[in-house]
């Protein structure tokens, strides 16, 4: 296989919101930047985000970044790092205003300011309430508007994209510095080394490890797989967010913005059951709380439909006009994918896997940090991560709605700025090791060699089924233990994949096999970390350890691929400038 080498100042892997925001910083600084992406930038999954981006602008009434910070810490069930959370909440208004200047078509208020809607878990007065309107939106297609705006800005800056290129592995120097990636050009089937003085991962989430997910097909956790294979740990992978309102059967998302605008959930008896589970916040409680309530209703026989396996989301009372103005995309989706017109009838919904709280460990500057000589958060030179693939950690055990888009902007920009500084201070390319691409080439050769026999689709299906059954909304000790065993078996099978189509050009089968190997790493990290965490916190809810256990478990999990080893590191409870928010019971 021919092996080309190309040199850049920086390589950004991923062209979703996080990758594009970082790339803009790099391109505008005049650095030679390659943005590598599996799909054309505006097709990236950020395009599907609906409800909005959170920032304490205070356009609808009093709001302060300190309140946003408090809500995020509480939402995270105190597993989020408070320095990163302060940074997020404090910087959010700036990045949103910046986006507005770039031309983002936000909805507006009568006075011309950006319209903001309520979202789950966002409150006034340090959690005391009432709900605050903090989500800046472009109707219910905020991600689309944001991604296109960022893309336009990158076209203006002349950013160079490598479209339909798939990064395969990290390239490491002898001293542990990251020197770029190997990548597959899908059109030709060639593998190249993209050498860079600074490398950013912005590869998005990995929701495809589950059978039912709101995530796109390309969300296969490639960044996580690459980091894990290179020996870096993955942080807090047991925490997966189930979004309360995925269309039953279809997996397509109905934004929380529907409940923000006044919609609510009903069980079989027509009861607004969230009043029982969260008397204050009701349908706008945090997502883990609402998903558990729904799963409980269904489990206890109060689900709707012939099989009692979903609940209903009612919004007809909002009126056609409001639905058309604020939620037009939702009406479209409900008609197409649920066969109901929400102007008249409620939408059948189930909790559906949506977001990965864990990821590649970073600090609030976007630098990847791992246990090492400098303590538990030693910076890996030349390596950065931002967006859903990173764990800063701002979302902790449960993300609040609208905080991911904020995360992309804040930490995409921060990572870009940090990289610009690093590149100034570290001119010159370190030498590439001779075996830079060996790991990758061996992996590809194995797929094509005679040792295989396992079908990509069968192994993939088995993986998704296993994760769905063993790491769901409620977790049980026996199912977790069994899940660990099964996932390890599946990982073993994934070492022996065979692809029927061996052609070089645009070989989808090969790409799917390489993606599956990444999914397997993510699934292993998830099961092993989940089985080990003997408490319930945020999205991780165990039947045998019902309570949060701060004495033993107020700490981050770090999973290493080698031997499925686990390590832990403390949560940073110390913000950058304000007082620490001490753990307390989390009620909504």
């Amino acid at each position: 296989m021919p092996l080309a080498k190309r040199q850049f100042d920086a390589v950004v892997v991923g062209a979703g919101g996080a990758g594009l925001r970082a790339a803009l910083q790099l391109s505008e600084a005049g650095l030679r930047t390659a943005v590598v992406t599996k799909v054309f930038p505006t097709r990236s999954h950020t395009v599907a985000a609906q409800g909005g981006v959170g920032a304490a602008l205070g356009n609808m009434g009093a709001d302060r970044w300190e309140w946003h910070m408090y809500d995020t810490v509480k939402g995270s069930d105190w597993l989020g790092d408070q320095d990163a959370i302060e940074y997020l909440a404090r910087k959010a208004p700036e990045v949103v205003i910046e986006l507005e200047h770039f031309g983002m078509p936000f909805d507006r208020n009568e006075d011309g300011t950006i319209y903001q809607r309520p979202f789950g878990g966002h409150m006034q007065n340090m959690g005391a309430g009432p709900a605050v309107q903090r989500s800046c939106c472009a109707a219910d297609r905020t991600g689309h508007a944001m991604l296109h705006t960022l893309y336009q800005r990158n076209v203006r800056a002349g950013t160079q994209f490598f479209v339909e290129w798939m990064a395969l592995d990290l390239v490491l120097g002898a001293d542990g510095r990251v020197l770029g990636v190997t990548a597959l050009e899908m059109e030709t089937g060639d593998v190249a080394v993209l050498q860079a003085r600074a490398t950013l991962f912005a590869t998005g989430g990995a929701g495809r490890i589950f059978a039912a997910t709101t995530n796109a097909f390309i969300n296969t956790g490639d960044g996580l797989g690459m980091a894990a294979r290179a020996g870096f740990p993955l942080e807090d992978m047991e925490f997966w967010q189930f979004h309360p309102t995925g269309v039953a059967g279809a997996g397509v998302l109905i934004t929380e913005g529907v409940r923000g605008e006044g919609g609510y959930l009903l069980n079989k008896g027509g009861e607004r059951f969230m009043e029982r589970y969260a008397p204050n916040a009701k349908d706008l409680a945090s997502r883990d709380v609402v998903s558990r309530a729904m799963a409980t209703e269904i489990k206890e026989g109060r689900g709707c439909g012939p099989d009692g396996d979903y609940v209903l989301l009612k919004l007809d009372h909002l009126g056609v006009e409001k639905i058309e103005k604020r939620l037009p995309g939702i009406r479209e989706i409900a008609k197409k994918f649920a066969n109901v017109d929400p102007v008249k009838d409620p939408i059948p919904v189930v909790p559906t896997v949506h977001y990965q709280m864990g990821g590649i460990p970073t600090n609030y500057l976007g630098e990847v940090v791992v246990p090492g000589k400098g303590g538990p958060n030693t910076v890996v030179p030349g390596f950065y991560a931002a967006g859903e693939c990173a764990c800063a950690s701002v979302h902790g055990a449960n993300r609040l709605g609208t905080n991911s888009l904020t995360d992309l902007l804040v930490f995409g920009k921060a990572a870009g700025e940090t990289m610009v500084r690093f590149l100034e201070e570290n001119p010159g390319h370190p030498e590439l090791p001779a075996d830079a691409a060996d790991r990758t080439l061996a992996r590809i050769a194995r797929l094509e060699g005679p040792g295989g026999g396992e079908s990509v689709h069968e192994v993939g299906r088995e993986l998704r089924r296993t994760m769905q059954a063993h790491a769901g909304v409620f977790r049980f000790p026996d199912l977790l233990a069994e899940g660990v065993k099964r996932v390890k078996e599946i990982a073993e099978r994934a070492e022996h994949l065979a692809i029927a189509d061996k052609s070089r050009v645009f070989n989808t089968a090969r790409v799917e096999a390489l993606e599956l190997q990444n999914l397997v790493e993510v699934a292993r990290a998830t099961m092993v970390s989940a089985e080990a965490r003997k408490e319930s916190r945020g999205a991780h809810d165990r039947s045998d350890f019902h309570e949060r256990d701060d004495a033993n478990w107020l700490k981050h999990t770090l999973w290493y691929r080698e031997g499925d080893r686990l390590a832990y590191k403390p949560v940073n409870l110390k913000p950058l400038t304000v007082e620490s928010i001490a753990p307390k019971a989390r009620v909504y």
Binding site: V39, I97, E98, H101, G112, A145, A216, V505, F506
Partner: protein
Amino acid sequence: MANGTHRKLRLHVMRYNPRVPGDAPRLQTYELEEADGMTLFIALTEIREKQDPSLQFDFVCRAGICGSCAMVIDGRPGLACRTLTKNLGEEITLAPLPFFELIGDLSVNTGKWMRAMSERLEAWVHMRAGELDLTRIEERMDPALAERIYELDRCIECGCCVAACGTARMREDFVGAVGLNKIARFRLDPRDARTDADYYEVVGDDAGVFGCMSLLACHDVCPKNLPLATQIAFVRRKMAREGLG
């Protein structure tokens, strides 16, 4: 929802990989059983998983917002992920979008074309010099105007309008309804410092707004129901005035 017996569907798919030496365009037929709520996306995925791993097509979001999966469905450009098979006959013909560079089978390179169009039209807000002041609150904007801009900004750049366009078939450099819609969008935006004279520079010719023959197939096929006919007519009127001016 369930309806007992399911139809047998026959999908006739245009196959051709221009990069494989000796390959020639041909129709290949796949048979499969229809399922409840089946979309073309589900059907094609099932074919790829169970019958033919070499079949090429593009999907990302499967919710009609990323614009990846446009193809010609029974002679008409549309999004595969939002096309329910129950609204089609038992014999379904699928072909790649014409006009765009063919990657293989149903997959075309819309992205490359969209980037070139964006560069040519400078499709971004041209801020007034020195305007990026992040200490300031955002630009005020009338909500009704914001909504009109948002309406036009809903374009997903799927390429259906260009594939259906008579002019694009004859002029490779035509910017298409997608391009003219962008001009309409930026013209509306008070944050964009450009004047009609500036826009005339980029679309005041036959590759731009005067190339449109008003056949308006673009308007009919737009999966997002953008008001393309009105927008093109509007931009043309403005540009004609600018040309005279």
